[in-house]
Symmetry: C2
Subunit: 356 residues, 2 copies
């Protein structure tokens, strides 16, 4: 047995006594094949342990059956559910998933594009605009996640209802807890989500005739460390505030840490709310009040729109996934009896009165 190279379609054909074209046909089900022959082919494939070479199929058929995912970095609690949704949906649609993170120097890296994928999912600003233009001009299927396309290029976008979510949150803080001086911890520069959350924030303020105070806006960077220092700075500067709307849940953690360190009790002294409702949000203490963004769904929906594009169908220009207010404790609500005890202040100070 000198010939130990993996079997090809030709080997299968010989073994089954048919032509390679026929093997290809039973492989792809493109054209009917006489039942008995098809069985012989299948048997031969089984016996030879034949696995078609992906590259050859791609080269011949011009379809990669692969979609690419581009993201700025792999981190934060947000990432995992999104990837889960994307992977699952891609799988179901029969696509493989190629993942690239662009946090590192992209120079000289084999890029994701027409040459190795059928379409691209692009998260936030993980791709240079130039490349985006190039792909667009090629009519290459692309879907943006949490990012509006530059120059209103007609590229489908999937995002969550940031503005509404933020507005609900702020409204709750104002109406239920009487907060009026609410800090907004903005996300990273140029981040779409952050911009819309700020609009929701302002809208809610306006509704309640509370003047916008720019000294209450600072950057928290969707990151717990950054949020931590941001709140510390506010405290040092003696800025007066009674609530913090963190740009996302990760930032909320940082905010809570800074407040605890400064002996400001959450939620009695200061309410803290986040955004996303990542898995650990409910396990913080106090449990984080936040807005649930259907992260996994966003991933699934993105794949759905992308496959449409790939199939030459029309895709939704903008898909906004509904967000939902998740009220827990960090705003001041809903202290379950078993956790209330932990919240009672040591020195016997005013213990919190359940507001619901």
């Amino acid at each position: 047995m000198p010939k130990s190279r993996p079997p090809t379609i030709a080997d299968v054909a010989r073994h089954a006594g048919v032509s390679i074209a026929t093997v290809s046909r039973v492989l792809n089900g493109t054209t009917p094949v006489q039942a008995e022959k098809a069985d012989r082919v299948r048997l031969a494939m089984e016996e030879l342990q034949f696995v078609p070479r992906h590259a050859a199929r791609v080269l011949a058929s011009k379809r990669t059956n692969t979609i690419g995912l581009l993201l700025p970095e792999i981190s934060g609690a947000f990432f995992s559910p999104m990837l889960k949704g994307i992977e699952a949906a891609a799988h179901e649609a029969g696509y493989d998933l190629l993942v690239h993170s662009t946090q590192q120097v992209t120079t000289a890296r084999r890029r994701l594009g027409e040459h190795n994928t059928d379409g691209l999912l692009i998260f936030t600003n993980s791709l240079a605009p130039g490349e985006l233009y190039r792909l667009h001009s090629l009519d290459f299927p692309v879907v943006l996640l949490h990012q509006i396309p530059p120059d209103s290029l007609d590229i489908p976008v999937i995002a969550v209802e940031n503005k509404d979510g933020a507005a609900m949150l702020i409204k709750h803080l104002i109406e239920t807890h009487g907060r009026r001086r609410i800090v907004y911890l903005r996300g990273p520069e140029g981040h779409e989500d952050s911009v819309w959350r700020e609009r929701g924030y302002r809208e809610a303020l306006e509704t309640h005739a509370i003047a916008f105070d720019s000294s209450l806006i600072t950057s928290g960077g969707f990151d717990d460390e950054e949020a931590f220092t941001a709140i510390q700075r506010l405290l040092e500067d003696g800025i007066d505030f009674d609530a913090v709307f963190a740009g996302d849940d990760d930032a909320a953690i940082g905010a809570m840490r800074a407040l605890k360190l400064a002996e400001r009790v959450v939620p009695q002294d200061v309410s803290v709310v986040g955004f996303d409702d990542v898995p650990f949000a409910r396990y913080l203490s106090p449990a984080l009040t936040t807005v649930r963004a259907p992260i996994e769904q966003v991933g699934r929906e993105a794949v759905r729109q992308l496959t449409r594009l790939i199939n030459g169908e029309q895709a939704e220009a903008l898909t906004l996934m509904r967000t939902e207010l998740v009220i827990r404790e960090s705003c001041g609500c809903l202290l379950s009896s078993l956790q209330k005890e932990f919240l009672t202040r040591a020195g016997g100070e005013t213990s919190y009165n359940e507001s619901l």
Copy 2:
């Protein structure tokens, strides 16, 4: 301009006045090319916006420059840092990353293997043994993460020092906090990590001459829900215990929840410790004492070993990454003053005495 198909190497060659072989050579740097010609080629590539088709290269060169990652499911706090390490290392080594989760029915799915990757990273038991045998018999590069190969096949393994980590943890519980009836929440059936952690647990018990009590061992499934019900069952059954060693941090969360619900205070009544030190561990309250597993490093190391295998070099048969004890509060240690207040029991019962 009727010809709008993407340019091929032939177009570039024509445009630069050289043969396609030469273009290929400047593309890959395989053979020296006259400087002036090389420049012409590069210029032509630039002008035509030439991007080599991945499939064609793979087909011709038999190298995919892609590695595959197979995992049971995308979830848990553990996942994200591991993927981060893998992606980064793969990127640095010049490989693309194909991700497959096998949580769903794998039937009829285009699989990962020789036909579309140069090597595979296999996490826990995300691959049927039969397929593993097949790949091994083909000498296909494979590295296992957190899983010992069946029948001691010579497949490299990357794992963390589970036994030592667990032993350190249990030792700490016994020596520093005087715990003697320590529950062990085992991970999912057949999970390698879990087995070794149990060995560490037993070893530590033995060292301190504490008899092993099988009624203290139950399954927590590396999952917060499962751990929750497991602890509840223990409580209902009236099993007496003063500490819980959760199989991992996710399970620790579930355990803490169940204990709180049963009004057993952590860490005063019961110490709880986890394993992994996932990002949120420090933010739980009380902050989780656990063992730090260098998850991201595991990912990087796995890629390193895999690329060795791909390059025909020898790989390390077993790489055990060092673990490190992370002492926080849930064992009973280190109550920072600002969090102590939250731990004081409501009814004015014995407040905890700092043990450090």
